[in-house]
């Protein structure tokens, strides 16, 4: 990069192209429902994701009822249990986390943070949401069809996903699941192209790539990855749908179902696993990178200190994004693939730990010699570092091929991925909502309710998932509705399971308090003003709060500096907004 990132100034070229005319909504329907404004679409995405997320939360309660108190609840049959587990996983990974980070935060923040008036293709952006909604509705519909939703596990491994021994395998469940995923990917692609092109083409004058806030870098890189990874899932879903509906055998070898030879033959179940994880591993980072970016900005803003090693942070995001496409088979060490692959994938997987560790160091080095305000966003950011670090370190067990062998398919894996891609990113989502809610609504969220929500969620989630690793160490397999009479598992494990369940109910309840806070503060929250956190990034510099359609009034902002000028020596305040030319004079604007 030519301009030194953290120095102000440089030459800001005059605008080369005239501004495009925005689509002006003509009625209430086109303003609030079929809206082409990225901010409205963001809220639609986030609202839908949180609504379906509530379903996933309730499913997790049902799962924990069974695991904590096996045999107590007759309605949780093994069929139902597997359906709960499958739908909980799929909703959380795809329909909540992916949709909320990219469709929600991506839509709201990208145009504002890069100084654009809207996404570059607003109509496709609107369609993206409506197709996502359709995907969610198809998913929900599977709860109401004969046989119920699929119970194949969120990985949907064939052949069992398509057979009678699995709930929904020979009924509608699996078909609706695959159709819903296909719709999701179509919808996502429309939005994803928008996020990428807006970052590349829609930035305002002076906003070089190396001046973008890390939030934008995280979402941008994650979107590029998603555009490359989702097609693998898309073809896998289409091929599997053909296997199920048309009788092809992409993934189905010759096999015996309940004593009868099926008509399938010649397919490869492992091919599906490769396609699934070629999507599935980047998916982890599709969720993690936006969280990395957002948490960097939260820490920097609330510690009143520039993010430590900005350029290293950007490169770490890009390198992690690239490397995550060559690690997928670490999910398959015991799948029966060729054992020599283990050397390659263990090496790439452990290499990815290096840029990831650098990010963790830079977050805590940002705190070091900072001016730490323990606001709600900062608290959630700190909790994120603890849980992400914990979950990342247990990843070094599972990534290291031979260590994975005893731990694979046990509760250790469940604990690991919940910590690292469940708890950690969700803590960032909460931090981000506490941080940006004032911009979105003009009001602050209630502090007392927020503190309650924070402490219960952080301490509770850690108390749930840290001990769970040890269940896996004991040898308790995952995806067992009950452990049954198993000699090598001590009876005290049942007590631990009951403890985890009760803690999970309490943590779940705290999320309802959070939802109540979201609604209550809309009306009764303290007035926020335009920039309550005294932040530097452009979204806090809008002339109106909440920003209207078009964001910037008459003139788009001109950017003079990077996003992290906090506590600059000699500056009149402890922050300098990106569009503030201090100590120079603003550029004269063309008439």
């Amino acid at each position: 990069m030519v301009d030194a990132t953290h120095r102000a100034g440089g030459v800001i070229p005059p605008a080369e192209v005239p501004e495009l005319e925005l689509y002006h909504p003509k009625s209430w329907w086109t303003t609030y429902v079929f809206s082409q404004d990225a901010k409205v679409i963001a809220i639609q995405y986030a609202g839908t994701a949180m609504a379906i997320g509530l379903v996933a939360l309730m499913l997790s309660w049902l799962i924990r009822l069974q695991l904590g108190f096996p045999g107590t609840f007759d309605f949780i049959t093994p069929d139902a249990y597997y359906q709960f587990v499958t739908m909980h996983g799929m909703i959380m990974v795809i329909y909540l986390l992916t949709a909320l980070f990219l469709g929600g935060f991506g839509n709201y923040l990208i145009p504002l943070m890069v100084g654009a008036r809207d996404m570059v293709f607003p109509y496709a952006n609107m369609l993206s949401y409506w197709i996502y909604l359709l995907a969610v509705l198809v998913l929900v519909a599977s709860f109401f069809v004969p046989g119920g939703p699929t119970g194949a596990g969120w990985t949907l491994y064939p052949p069992q996903a398509l057979l009678n021994g699995t709930p929904g395998g020979q009924e509608l469940g699996i078909i609706l699941m695959l159709v819903s995923l296909i719709l999701f990917i179509i919808g996502f692609t429309m939005g994803g192209l928008n996020y990428v092109v807006t970052v590349l083409q829609g930035r305002t004058r002076g906003m070089t790539l190396m001046r973008m806030p890390l939030t934008v870098w995280g979402i941008f890189t994650a979107t590029v990855m998603a555009l490359l990874a989702f097609p693998a899932l898309f073809v896998a879903c289409v091929m599997m749908l053909f296997d199920r509906v048309l009788g092809t055998s992409f993934f189905m070898p010759a096999l015996v179902e309940m004593g009868e030879l099926t008509s399938h033959g010649g397919g490869s179940p492992i091919l599906f696993q490769h396609l699934f994880w070629f999507f599935g591993h980047p998916e982890v980072y599709i969720v993690a990178l936006p969280a990395f970016g957002i948490v960097s900005d939260l820490i920097s803003t609330h510690a009143r200190k520039n993010i430590f090693g900005y350029r290293m942070m950007v490169w770490a995001i890009v390198i992690i994004g690239a490397l995550s496409f060559v690690v997928w088979a670490h999910h398959m060490y015991v799948s029966g693939m060729h054992p020599l692959f283990g050397f390659f994938f263990a090496t790439t997987t452990l290499i990815i730990a290096v840029p990831t560790a650098i990010k963790v160091y830079n977050w805590i080095l940002t705190l070091w010699r900072g001016d730490i305000h323990l606001t709600l966003p900062m608290l959630f950011a700190l909790a994120f570092i603890v849980t992400f670090l914990n979950g990342g370190l247990t990843g070094l067990f599972l990534g290291n091929v031979v260590v994975d062998v005893p731990l694979s398919d046990t509760m250790f894996v469940v604990a690991h991925f919940h910590m690292v891609m469940g708890v950690a990113p969700i803590l960032v989502i909460f931090g981000a909502i506490y941080h940006w809610y004032p911009k979105i609504t003009g009001r602050m969220l209630n502090q007392q309710l927020g503190l309650f929500h924070f402490w219960v969620t952080f301490v509770g989630a850690y108390a749930i998932f840290f001990p769970m690793h040890y269940l896996g160490l004991v040898g308790a397999p995952r995806r067992y509705p009950e452990l049954g009479g198993t000699a090598f598992i001590p009876e005290s494990v049942a007590d631990l399971n009951a403890f985890i369940s009760i803690t999970a109910f309490v943590v779940g309840f705290a999320q309802l308090v959070f939802l109540f806070n979201l609604i209550w503060s809309l009306r009764y929250g303290k007035e926020a003003g335009p920039n309550p956190w005294r932040a530097t990034t452009l979204e806090w510099q809008t002339p109106t709060t909440p920003p209207p359609h078009g964001n910037w009034g008459d003139e788009r902002p001109v950017v003079y500096r990077w996003a992290y000028d906090y506590s600059v020596p000699g500056a009149p305040q402890d922050f300098i907004p990106q569009n503030d030319p201090w100590p120079d004079k603003p550029l004269t604007r063309p008439a």
Binding site: Q160, I358, R369, D371, V386, V403, V405, V474
Partner: protein
């Protein structure tokens, strides 16, 4: 203050839990002590990093929390510090990866002379097959599975006639003899998992997978399925006994060959039809 305290408590609590809780791995019953050692190395390295990072964070929160009139330091980057941290991390990662790959090389290299034992998974039971006098397993194919031939052994392959077929019963292995577990499934994915052995591997229809081990102590062990295989996955259990050489021989005597079994089943069918 509270925040720093809680962060310290998270570290102390995690370490105490690790040391004091009763939940630890089952006593080893195979040669894969190497795997346990690698896990221990990983615990030490990751535990040290977790402790150091979280305690440093707690100290930062305590020392640099907001006070009126104090501004944060201005330091965009520190190349030297970043370089050292990167090198340190790379060394730590290598210290885990090197033993990991070394043990993996052992894990995938079956020693000469390991006896073959076939495990055949089906929803939801375990079947086994041992090579007979000829020491060779006959060819098999899921398309040949029938009532008389539950494992799909090729009746035209002479090597298969003397194979011992153990359908939904216990498997016995001799102690201290390396054994190659040859894994097959006739319907969906399964995974042969005996926690005390540490080793496990998926069983994939249409493929033959394997792993090897040497049982190191006699006893009775449970076989669990570790790959979701449908609604009764959690109840797909089997029993494996590691015997002394003598006991193993005695057990072997009581098993039937494929030829005997298919003969008797066909006779049984004829009798049934005749009634």
């Amino acid at each position: 203050m509270t925040v720093a305290l809680v962060l310290v408590l998270v570290v102390v609590g995690s370490i105490l839990f690790h040391i004091l809780s009763p939940w630890w791995w089952t006593p080893l019953a195979s040669n894969w002590g190497y795997i346990d050692d690698t896990i221990i190395i990983t615990f030490w390295i990751t535990g040290a990093v977790f402790t150091a990072v979280v305690l440093f964070m707690a100290w930062c929160v305590l020392r640099y929390r907001h006070r009126e009139g104090v501004r944060a330091a201005y330091q965009p980057e520190n190349k030297k510090l970043e370089t050292w941290l990167t090198i340190g991390t790379a060394v730590g990662v290598a210290a885990m990866l090197a033993p990991g790959l070394y043990v993996w090389a052992h894990f995938i290299t079956v020693p000469d002379g390991a006896a073959e034992v076939e495990v055949v998974g089906q929803q939801w039971q375990w079947n086994f097959r041992l090579p007979g006098e000829d020491g060779k397993l006959g060819r098999s194919d899921a398309r040949l599975v029938s009532f008389e031939n539950p494992l799909g052994i090729d009746p035209d392959d002479p090597a298969g006639q003397d194979d011992l077929v153990i359908e939904a019963a216990d498997l016995h292995l001799p102690v201290d003899k390396p054994v190659k577990m040859v894994l097959r499934s006739i319907d969906v994915l399964h995974d042969f998992y005996v926690p005390e052995f540490r080793a496990k591997m998926d069983m994939v229809p249409g493929m033959v997978t394997y792993f090897w081990l040497t049982p190191t102590r006699t006893g009775t062990f449970e076989i669990l399925c570790a790959e979701l295989c449908g609604v009764s996955h959690g109840f797909m259990r089997g029993t494996l006994m590691v015997d002394t050489e003598q006991d193993y021989r005695a057990w072997l005597q009581g098993q039937s060959t494929f030829a005997q079994l298919s003969g008797s089943r066909q006779t049984g069918m004829v009798e049934e039809a005749g009634q």
